[in-house]
């Protein structure tokens, strides 16, 4: 053969049967991480999503302790200190009634986070039951349940919410009820889609053949597999609920002054933006936007992290 042939340089003693201990050829076993650990590892690499998460943790902390730390009451008016610019005494300034904007901002954070989280949780429970049953039962039940969803989907969201606010009177409960009455539909659709996809997987068939009961199949096999997209959906529900609350309050249909919500504060600030009292609008506007931003980037990051299609 040719001179360069590697076979000629190979020592003869290598020509013997492979011994079992010589397993250097065994493929390097890459650590196989569990689904959640793997997702978390990838989420942690996403700097934007992580800073969103950190911001939300800080915001939650301030929402809980901010109003307590402040010497001012949320609704306490002080006619001697109206429309003060931010200072050492009033870090975020005061409004036209002399209320402390700093205190009100964190109080507004409470409202926003509460509305957002409650809406997401209620959507989650209704959606998972409705969508789970619809997808799992299939057939006629599914058909009818999906028709109902299709009709609900066609309802103009905010109009229904506004209508309910008119009837039930503006309050926090009303806002949450109104938001969830239309909001669960999206969640139910996602859950149903997930369930349909996974329903026919072999392991479900397997547990069925072992005589497992339907609820057990749903709990043990289906739920863990459908959680990814559902968690993402929940994360993305929060900012839209926060927006809806602020929107309604801004229109005067939500939380009412003197109570504080970011929407109320922005609405109150509207007449004075031309006068240069920038802090009145800036703080509520900034916090609504940055909070929604944080939830959105976190949701996006989780979507990327949980999507098995992207797994290398």
């Amino acid at each position: 053969m040719v001179a360069k042939d590697p076979r000629l340089t190979v020592p003869d003693e290598w020509f013997k049967k492979k011994t079992d201990d010589g397993d250097q050829a065994e493929a390097v076993v890459r650590p196989s991480l569990s689904y959640w650990k793997d997702a978390w590892r990838r989420l942690r690499k996403n700097k934007l999503a992580m800073s969103g998460l950190v911001f939300l943790i800080l915001l939650t902390f301030m929402a809980i302790f901010g109003p307590i730390l402040s010497p001012y009451e949320v609704t306490a008016t002080d006619l001697r200190s109206q429309n003060l610019a931010p200072s050492a005494a009033h870090w975020f300034g005061t409004d036209e009634m002399g209320r402390d904007v700093f205190t009100r901002t964190w109080y507004g954070a409470r409202i926003s986070l509460f509305v957002g989280v409650m809406a997401a949780l209620i959507d989650f429970f209704i959606g998972i039951i409705y969508g789970g049953v619809s997808g799992y039962k299939g057939g006629r039940t599914d058909s009818i349940m999906m028709r109902v969803i299709e009709i609900l989907y066609g309802l103009p969201h905010l109009l229904v919410v506004i209508l309910l606010m008119v009837v039930m009177g503006p309050s926090l409960t009303t806002i949450i009820v109104a938001l969830t009455i239309t909001g669960w539909v999206g969640m139910a659709r996602i859950v149903r889609g997930q369930v349909l996809q996974i329903k026919n997987y072999e392991f479900v068939t397997a547990s069925k053949s072992f005589g497992a009961q339907t609820p057990r199949i749903i709990r043990k096999n289906l739920l863990p597999n459908t959680m990814g997209p559902i968690i993402v959906q929940m994360t993305l529900t929060v900012p839209s609920a926060i927006f809806a609350e602020a929107f309604l309050s801004f229109l005067g249909l939500g939380i009412q002054a003197p109570h504080a919500s970011w929407g109320v504060m922005a609405n109150d600030a509207l007449p004075v933006i031309l006068s240069g009292d920038w802090w009145r609008l800036f703080f509520p506007a900034f916090f609504i936007s940055i909070t929604m931003f944080a939830f959105n980037v976190l949701g996006d990051g989780m979507q990327d992290a949980l999507d098995p299609k992207l797994r290398g």
């Binding site: 506004i162 008119v166 009837v167 801004f250 005067g252 929604m292 959105n296």
Partner: protein, 311 residues
């Protein structure tokens, strides 16, 4: 196809009926009469008023009258503005809101699609990151916040554009930007995601294997398929935009329907609330219907494949 249209049409009628009934029930569920606040009026006058507004008749009759008024597009007189009917308010306010809504929709759809497509074609490039950063910010800033910021900066501080009203195309720019940014961002994200997905499809690979130019592959093969999800959300997006007009009209002092609607809610002017809710809902549901039909034309499969049980 006719069967598909018929089905969608029935769906539309059912939805409108549900909304109408819901509105009726909710409005009647409110304790007390709209005239309760009018302390000056004596019982006779109140009774006469209720008679005039047909509130004295039994519920089923009221309901039927109400349904009739919806079909005939005659929503009756306003309670708080005795000289005006709901129809006159609608005919005065709705065209302006419609203008604002349609202008916003056009801006959002066009710029969203362009942005999303380029982001997908330059996947992980600078355009992609730029567009997606814009998109996530655009989604996160509420339209009323953006509107006030625009007034404060662009109109007041810089004085480039008028801060309020709806009297010339120049006046429309800020409200449309404020209202269109969110939908633009949503469409851009959706277009990008859907485009990225379409670009991995076998038929795109096949088009490349045919030696077609990149332009033709995108324009002829990818775009139409990528836009289908965008079309499906256009109906609900229009709903969001139209309700968004309420708040934008308030901020920019635009004399559209939103102004009357919010006013009517604060005044408890029931005929106006009911009339405009039903009118708006019917309009939106009709737009959803139009979108469905449009989708049917875009996707040739729908003619045959939309069978019972499929969603």
């Amino acid at each position: 196809m006719p069967l598909y249209i018929l089905k969608r049409f029935i769906m539309m009628i059912v939805t409108i009926l549900i909304i109408a009934t819901l509105t009726f029930v909710l409005m009647r569920a409110i304790p007390g009469s709209p005239f309760d606040e009018e302390r000056t009026s004596n019982p006779t006058i109140q009774a006469n008023l209720e008679k005039f507004y047909k509130l004295d008749q039994p519920m089923p009759i009221q309901y039927l009258n109400y349904l009739k008024s919806i079909v005939t597009f005659d929503y009756g007189p306003s309670i708080k503005k005795p000289n005006e009917s709901v129809n006159t308010l609608l005919s005065r306010g709705f065209p302006i809101s419609f203008e604002l809504g349609i202008a916003t929709m056009i801006v959002a759809v066009l710029s969203g699609i362009v942005l999303g497509t380029f982001a997908a074609l330059r996947h992980n490039g600078i355009i992609d990151y730029g567009a997606m950063t814009f998109a996530v910010i655009g989604i996160s800033i509420p339209n009323f916040v953006l509107a006030t910021l625009l007034i404060q900066q662009v109109a007041v501080n810089w004085g480039w554009l008028p801060p309020a009203t709806w009297s010339s195309p120049k006046h429309m720019i800020l409200p449309v930007i404020a209202l269109a940014t969110g939908p633009t961002a949503i469409i851009a994200r959706l277009t990008r995601a859907s485009m990225l997905e379409v670009l991995t499809q076998d038929y795109i690979k096949m088009a490349r294997a045919k030696g077609l130019t990149p332009f033709r592959i995108v324009a002829r093969h990818a775009l139409r398929n990528a836009l289908m999800p965008v079309v499906t959300i256009m109906g609900t997006m229009l709903a969001g935009i139209l309700t968004g007009t309420f708040v934008i009209e308030k901020i920019f002092a635009i004399p559209g329907m939103g102004k009357y609607f919010v006013e009517s809610i604060n005044n408890r002017d029931y005929p106006v609330i009911m009339g405009s809710t039903v009118f708006y809902s019917a309009f939106l549901v009709f737009m959803l219907f139009v979108v469905d039909i449009l989708y049917g034309f875009l996707d040739p499969r729908i003619k045959l494949h939309k069978k019972e049980g499929e969603v």
